[in-house]
Each structure stands twice: as structure tokens, then as C-alpha cells.
Symmetry: C2
Subunit: 391 residues, 2 copies
């Protein structure tokens, strides 16, 4: 099936990302799935949808697990198989992969995959602790290191190996905040100057406040079906032509080097081969910029530039809107926000908008091939998907 | 594909269930997966296994999420797609379903599916709280009700509607403890008298201590592949011929009646139809006896007896070893133990042993068709699978 559509996306939805006081995760999900249903009036949800996969990272936020069924219930889909997948911040990238398995299996020809997280009602200390559960308990958490510290280790390793600078990391924040300023659903819709990034306080050297993604509430979803059924529901299906998921060691201390993510490389290789697409053919990408260094590493691991040249690539402006390969047109985790369980399918949502020409002020002209890259934790999980428009 | 094998189980493993002090969940999983690998010397795990699905219910127990990748890492499978599924006590029944999707999809021809939970290092109060996260937060947990209370509501409804007695529930405990006494991996390997059950203290009327399943540590797994590949690895593959998963409302308060689980009925209907098997053709079943009342309700929802006759069925001795349809030959959640994330694939493990003639003192003679029934929470999830031996 090389290069052929695996499955097709017939619709997508996303809640407003931000501080959404007074709402439960399930209510945020209703916002996302209602948009997806409304976009696709030919779909009869209760009759057509055969399974639900929901990425959801943390029970602790709302003292609520069993999220697959809870959300099926509140989304009006009670009865269908409903499954929560969890792979840290990669939870809904993995839900997407699971939905693809389900459609290809022949057991479910129409599947909703999405993700959700409600975080902002908790203190920063609580969120930091809950997020840390995705790293290794005995060998990382127990010693007090949390995610900013783990990614700071990667950043320093990258600086040491390739001469990457704090300014280069800062440019990722500047670019993504600019993109976020064009996205009415983004958590932060304001531009930031490099000076602001550079003078923000250190969280874990060399990462400063503006190098870190946001604590955000939100939900997102896409609706998958078999390619041969897609045209029955929409004139503008988007096809997923490549899917890769891979794992790496849970602990950073077990890895040979900290300057790249092997999970990303394995997942990208699988997705590119399946899609018969090369990195040069990708028109735009949503990559996992949980910290600015992560976007630079993603450039390299996804083949958008040579190993070690991530910093130079962001300096070249090629990943800006209007550049050779715009990255994180949505604003990314950095500005759109990072409701952890929702991030993977929020990336798919942005690609869907772009490839169907609905991205408004941030539209990439003639976008035909998109890529999403969702990472769990410090890279113990990665999911890469490649999308192609109908034309 | 009606009645034909969906996938085949070529091996299975299970850790000793019990109080496993000093071990991490991942170490318990190694015990299970090592048994599975050792049973199947032709398998080259690192080369052959293409994906891992792990049912794991609670991050809180070990302050550890991202369990799919953590376990892939420690099981020597790092690199492959590794996914945690969570559906409360149905987490690994759902992992099994997800593994079936993956094999049928054509993207992964050899998959390990399993589950794990480490619980006993926590206090009973902590475990009760963590388990409660699988019920509805705003409308159940918040008001103080926990699972014994929720199942007590079902028990009283069943008593009221059908005249079911506390003695009948107690007979489930007596039967399953007897079976557990024959299972060297069971948490409790001792018989109990009905008198002991009936005089044990009330947890939530009418449920007494001996009506409740155990807080247990453990892990379990099965290895799935395409039916056409199975014979390459083993002379005794077991085929999964039916698979059903369904959801119900997360809150008990939303249901029309409390005397049956609609999720079980939907999942069973799907599995029976796919397998072209009727309840009368099932030779043995592992059902979700988290509380004794749950086994009686399962008898009815799975079609082993008429609606309302669950109590009479256990009295008839037909579900005992040697009876018409032995249920929970492993000892069930009641005596084998209930490490919540591990329970679904532990049921599959027992069916695997029985259908391959390896169940020793608890062997069901001429067992050819088995059924497993795994429930999440108070029934917001159910997964039913039907297995057939090669002969």
C-alpha cells in the first residue's frame, strides 16, 4: 500500500485552547467533536461512528480516569468501543495511530480520534508533578528532575555538539508566537520579540520561560474513515498516507546521545517509507515544540536539515510562514498551547485546515503534503503522520 | 470473516499474582512476558514483535504513567510502537482488542498485549481512592461513593427484581476460592466456607468482605499473530474468533436499570455474532467477578442463563469445575486476584492454558471454546472475546 491512502480524514474539530475555567475535560471535548460533526453534515454520528480513541495524559488533573467511556458518553456516542490511549504528551498521536489500526482492521469503518486535557485549574507545582509522571520514576522523578530539566540536558548537549545558541532557540519562540497571533484558537495570540525571550527568567538553564510551552486546556479530534468511503461524506477528504510510531528508553540516562530522539527517527522513517514521500516534499509540518530546543532537534530528526543544523534552519527563515517549509503554523505547543493529551490531534487538525485551504491568515499557499510529529515525555514515544490533499 | 480466526495466540505468560513487595510494575511485566517468550522458543522477540499494547489503570500507584514505553524498554523491546490503554479494570481487555486491530490492520503481524498493576504497597484507603477515579468524578466520586457502594446498588436492585440472595452471591466466592486453591499463581490459594463468607464484615451492604475481589500485584500477556503465521511458531495456537468491546454511561445514575450491564450485552452480541458461537457452545468462561454480584449479572448478560436466574445458576453447580460451563476456573478476580490493569489478559491467559490442556488440576476436559469477559469500572467499558482451540 505504499504511497496509497491508509485512511482519510473527513472532518476535524478543536476547542478554543487557553484557560477554560469552569469546564470539565469532557465538555472541552464536546466543543471539539461538535465542530467536527458540524463540518460534516452528511455524517450521522450515532449511526456512523463505530469507535472512539481518546488521548488523555493525566488522571490526576480532574481525579478522572476511564476517559474513553466518559467522553463517549458525553459526546452522545455511548455504546461504541471507547478507548483511552496514554503516551504522555504523545497520547493523541498514539490515539491517531490506534484509530488507523482500527479502520484498517475492517472492524470499524468510521472512527473518531481525539485528545483532551484540563490543566489550568491546578497550580504550576501540581502540573509539573503530574507531567513528571511521564518520566522514569525510580531513576528520574525520584531524584527531583522534571521536564524542563530533562530538555535542558538535551539543549546543553546540542549546544556543546553543534554550537547551537540560546538565540537560535529563542527564534523558535518568536516564530511560533507570530503564528499563534494569526490563530484565533491559540492560547497566546501575541507576538514576542527575541529580546523578550532572551531576558525572560531561567526555568532550567539554558531554557528560559519563553522557551517553554504553555499549560493549557483544550481538546481536538479528527474523523477517520476508509478512503473509499470518504467522498460519500465530503468533497475535500485529506488522506493519511504514512504512519509511524516508535518508542525509546523511558529514561534519558539510558541513551547513547541526547542530541536527537531515536523514536522520532524511527517513526519518521516508517512514515516516509509508507508514504513514499521525502522530507523535501513536505509543504508544512506541525512538530512537537514542548521546548524550543525540541523543535530544532525535530528539524534534524525529520530530515528538514542536516544533523546539527537545526539552529541554522530557524535562522534562515525557511520554517516561517512563506518559507520553504513552514513549521508550526498553528503557533505550536509554544503559542497555541499544550493541553498535553490534545496536542497530537490538534496537530492533525491544523494540517487538515491547511490542506483544505481553511487556515485563513496563516494559510500556506499550495500546501499538498503535511506532516505531524508528536512526542511523549522526553521522547520515549514519537508518532509521525504524513497527510496528502486530494488534489 | 464470520467464525474464522481473527488472530491467533501463540503464547501467553502471567506473573505470580499476590503481594509482590519490592517489585516495580515493569518488573512484574518482565515475569509475564518472559514466560510467554520462553514458551515459544521459535519467537525472536526483538526481531519478530512489531507492537506492544499494555493495559495499565492507574498512574497514581507508582507515580508512573507512559507505561507502554516504560515496559517496552524494560522488556527488551525498545523501538517498537508501545501503547498504554486505560479503561479502568478493563484496561487489558481493551489492550487485547487494540492488539487485534493492529494485527488485522496489516501494520503489525506480531503483537504483545498485556496488562499490569502494582497496588499492594499502597494503603487500602489510597487504593480505594485511585480505583474510584474510574467512576464519574462530578456525580459519583465527589459525593463519596466508591466501587463497593456502586456494586452494592446493583446487588440490591438485583435482589429486589429477582429475589437474588446474599447466600447465592456467597456461593460465587466459595466456588472461585476453590478454583483458586488449584491455581499456583493465584493470590489466595485457600478454600472458604459459605459460613465464612456470610459472617464476614459488611463493606457496603449487602456486599461483605468475601464478596469483594482482592487488591493484588500482577502482570499478564498474550502474543498475537496472523492465523496464517501461527503454525510457524507453535503446534498449539489458540484462535480468537470473536471480539466485542462496548461502552456505557460513566455514571450509574444515568442508566435505566442497574440489574444488567448494557456494555456486556453489546460486546457479547458482537463477539458471538463474529464467532458464530452461541452461549451454549462455550465450554468455559473467565468473567469479571470484581464483586460476587458481578459474576451473577455476567451469567445473565452473557446468555449462560435466563435474565434473573444468575443466583439459581450458581446454586445449580453448573458453573463449577466439572459442571456444564465452568466459570472462573483460574479463581477469578475473587481468588486469583485483581491487579486491575492485568486482569483482562490474565483471563486470556487462563483460557489459553485451558484450551491447550495446560491447566493442570483445574483442567476442563475437552475444552474447545472459551470466553473472556472484562469490565471497566461499573460497566462503562466491557470487552468480550471468544477463543477456539485448533482441533
Amino acid at each position: 500500500m505504499k504511497g496509497e491512502p491508509l485512511v482519510s480524514i473527513i472532518s476535524a474539530g478543536m476547542s478554543k485552547f487557553g484557560k477554560r475555567d469552569g469546564l470539565l475535560a469532557r465538555e472541552l471535548f464536546i466543543e471539539a467533536v461538535s465542530e467536527a460533526f458540524n463540518r460534516c453534515p452528511k455524517l450521522e454520528p450515532k449511526k456512523d461512528v463505530k469507535a472512539l480513541f481518546v488521548g488523555h495524559m493525566g488522571e490526576a488533573y480532574e481525579h478522572q480516569g476511564h476517559t474513553g467511556s466518559a467522553i463517549a458518553d458525553w459526546a452522545g456516542l455511548v455504546g461504541i468501543p471507547a478507548t483511552r490511549t496514554e503516551a504522555a504528551c504523545g497520547s493523541s498521536g498514539v490515539a491517531l495511530r490506534s484509530g488507523i489500526y482500527a479502520v484498517l482492521s475492517g472492524l470499524a469503518d468510521m472512527v473518531v480520534v481525539g485528545g483532551v486535557e484540563k490543566m489550568t485549574h491546578r497550580t504550576t507545582a501540581e502540573v509539573t508533578e503530574y507531567l513528571a509522571m511521564a518520566s522514569d520514576y525510580p531513576f528520574e522523578q525520584w531524584h527531583g528532575i522534571t521536564f524542563p530539566g530533562l530538555f535542558a540536558l538535551m539543549a546543553t548537549a546540542h549546544m556543546h555538539a553543534y554550537g547551537t545558541t540560546q538565540e537560535q532557540m529563542g527564534l523558535v519562540a518568536v516564530k511560533n508566537h507570530y503564528n499563534g497571533s494569526l490563530n484565533p484558537k491559540a492560547h497566546m495570540q501575541k507576538e514576542v520579540a527575541l529580546q523578550t525571550v532572551m531576558t525572560s527568567k531561567y526555568v532550567a538553564w539554558p531554557l528560559k520561560l519563553y522557551d517553554c510551552s504553555l499549560i493549557t486546556d483544550g481538546a481536538s479530534c479528527v474523523i477517520l474513515t476508509k478512503p473509499e468511503l470518504a467522498k460519500k461524506y465530503t468533497d475535500q477528504p485529506i488522506h493519511i498516507v504514512g504512519s509511524g510510531q516508535a518508542s525509546d528508553t523511558i529514561g534519558l540516562y539510558e541513551r547513547k546521545n541526547l542530541t536527537s530522539l531515536n523514536s522520532t527517527k524511527l517513526a519518521a522513517k516508517a512514515a516516509y517509507e509508507m508514504a513514499q514521500v521525502s522530507p523535501e516534499q513536505v509543504n508544512l509540518a506541525e512538530v512537537h515544540d514542548c521546548f524550543t530546543i525540541a523543535e530544532l532537534i525535530a528539524y534534524e530528526d525529520l530530515g528538514f536539515c542536516k544533523v546539527g543544523d537545526g539552529g541554522k534552519l530557524v535562522e534562515s527563515d525557511e520554517t516561517r510562514l512563506g518559507g520553504r517549509i513552514p513549521v508550526n503554523t498553528s503557533g505550536g505547543l509554544k503559542a497555541k498551547g499544550h493541553p498535553v493529551g490534545a496536542t497530537g490531534t490538534a496537530q492533525a487538525y491544523e494540517i487538515y485546515l491547511q490542506l483544505t485551504g481553511q487556515a485563513d491568515k496563516r494559510q500556506v499557499i499550495d500546501a499538498k503534503v503535511g506532516l505531524s510529529h508528536n512526542v511523549g515525555g522526553s521522547g520515549a514515544t514519537a508518532a509521525v503522520h504524513i497527510y496528502r490533499s486530494e488534489q
